[in-house]
């Protein structure tokens, strides 16, 4: 509290500092209260199901047997699929923007890509229902089951809605995060690294592959985790295209369910205290997972920038 006791500080200053300080503390408080309320309101299912909740597979509101595994599975698979698509594509765009495009092109294009991140989730859902679902049902799923149907991943009826569509839609939504962070990271790689490899006769792609990417590796991983955190919490777009079925199925054609989607669908209709609190507990699990992933992302991204400072 040294700032309050320095000599020559007027009372007006003290008031100002106190006000600002109080607000700062309140930010911490709010975060703490959120965590506290989530735990407090999950008391019933925590008592009844304990840790087994996390690997229970039944979701039976009639018998009041609840297990979170189908939602954990759905969340992880849909997000994983999204990353599988968004990371290579996003990295490709980032490389284009940082290595290839001249400044007058790179800046406006970066802005446009970032606009994708500004589009609200419900609008992605809207386009998802009316454009993506029919496209997947009529074109993509028949093609995949024809070409790769021997894999259990691509079996079953082409519903249109399902894990595959959700993954595709999520990929579109998280690509801008991969692009903007990776681009910053790539641009932060010192030119000395690039020049060293180029002077040895490497082609531009080889330079990227050998000098730039490995240097930026942890930062790129950070952008991946950032994208993951975003995908995990995505609610509206997912619930509009995933089929809303609490089951664990191998095929990507099958419908699924995510933690965020089940809360959105069933919260206002949960007919018992246990049911509502179970949904809140799912919110708690989601909360915990996203905090973890975000923390990892920060760590990895922070690392690259400090590394850059030290090296130069």
């Amino acid at each position: 509290m040294a700032m309050f006791r320095r000599p020559g500080v007027s009372p007006a200053d003290r008031l100002f500092r106190a006000t600002v300080f109080t607000v700062a503390i309140s930010v911490l408080l709010i975060t703490g209260v959120i965590a506290f309320e989530l735990v407090r309101n999950s008391r019933l299912p925590i008592e009844k199901f304990g840790w087994g909740f996390l690997w229970g597979t039944t979701w039976d509101p009639v018998a009041e047997q609840f297990g979170a595994l189908p939602f954990l599975y759905g969340t992880l698979v849909s997000s994983g699929l999204a990353l599988l698509i968004a990371v290579p594509v996003g990295l490709g765009v980032a490389i284009f923007l940082s290595e290839l495009a001249p400044r007058w092109l790179s800046d406006p294009v970066t802005f446009l890509v970032e606009l994708l991140a500004a589009i609200p989730s419900v609008i992605y859902g809207l386009v998802g229902i009316f454009v993506l679902v029919p496209l997947v049902r009529n074109v993509l799923e028949p093609f995949l089951s024809g070409a790769l149907g021997f894999l259990p991943l691509f079996r079953g009826a082409p519903y249109g809605v399902g894990m595959l569509t959700a993954g595709l839609l999520l990929a579109m939504m998280v690509v801008p995060f991969v692009v903007s962070v990776s681009r910053e990271i790539l641009m932060a790689v010192p030119h000395s690294q690039r020049e060293a490899v180029l002077s040895l006769g490497a082609t531009q792609w080889e330079m990227v592959r050998i000098a730039v990417l490995p240097y930026a590796r942890s930062g790129i991983m950070g952008s991946v985790f950032l994208a993951l955190a975003r995908a995990l919490g995505e609610t509206m777009a997912v619930t509009m295209v995933i089929g809303n079925r609490p089951e664990i199925r191998l095929s990507l054609f099958e419908p699924g369910y995510t933690m965020a989607a089940v809360i959105a669908n069933e919260f206002t209709e949960a007919t018992s205290d246990l049911y509502v609190q179970t949904l809140i507990e799912i919110g708690l699990v989601l909360f915990a997972v996203t905090i973890l992933v975000n923390a990892l992302a920060r760590l990895l991204i922070y690392n690259v920038f400090t590394k850059v400072e030290v090296r130069e």
Binding site: M3, V9, S10, A12, D13, F16, R17, V20, F21, V23, A24, S26, V27, L28, I30, T31, I34, E37, L38, N41, V89, G92, V93, I95, E99, L100, V109, V113, L115, L116, A118, I119, P120, S121, V122, I123, Y124, G125, L126, V127, F130, P176, V179, T203, W205, A229, L232, G233, T235, M236, M240, A260, F267, T268, G283, F287, T290, I291, V293, N294
Partner: protein, 282 residues
Amino acid sequence: MTPGLLVRRRLANVLMLSLTGVCTALVLGVLFFILGYITYHGISALDWDFFTKLPKPVGEKGGGMANAIVGTVKLLALASLIGVPIGFLGGVYLSEYGRKNTLGFLMRYAADILNGIPSIVMGIFAYTIVVLPMGHFSTIAGGVALGIMMIPIAVRSTEEFLKLVPASIREAALALGLHEWKVVSFVVIPTAFRGIVTGIMLDLARVAGETAPLLFTAFSNRFWSRGWFEPTASLPVMIYTYAVAPYDDWHRQAWAAGMVLLMLVLGANILARLVLHRQLKG
């Protein structure tokens, strides 16, 4: 090196680099497709009724979303009441007093956590602290959820723009004998003002499109919502409700609403970018 290897390496180079171009074209293509599709369907669906009328009974054609538009405005007003003061003052703390101390570190960490909380979980929180004690859904509950979501971005962007103000300006003001609080309030903040305002505007644009936190806080309303203690319709929730229904006329209205929302959000983003460009250049 054999000529064959050189050719292969050059080929790989061209291939991979053009792939990155393809990726970029793909991503931009997605953007323009979404914008174009919504504009195309939204424009044909927009009519005067949309902005002035209330929704019609189920299955009947026509009606509009006037109450949802007003509802969104009210929700954003409430959200700013919570998000702007806390975010702004918090950013002031971080920039002026909290650059290197423990509270500053903790606060940045807390802001990061708040930012990472999925919007549906925010909805749950607002439900437990506003809806349950009040006993019913309300505009206030929705405003609280959105307001808390605004805090982390408002804090960070205020902090960043305040930090951009050079130390020389602060020191000059102090050297002239101004009290510290006056230096911050009348010199530093006004200098960074444009950036701070654009940051907040972008923040508002972000929460304007949020649907999940409103599903069980502000809920929805087929009539005008009076005051702050009643449930209210909002653009994003109406889009969701109408999109998943089978009625073609509702789909039409969902496109219109989607376009209005999109224009709002993208407009704010583009405006912010223009303003910031001028500030950074001039």
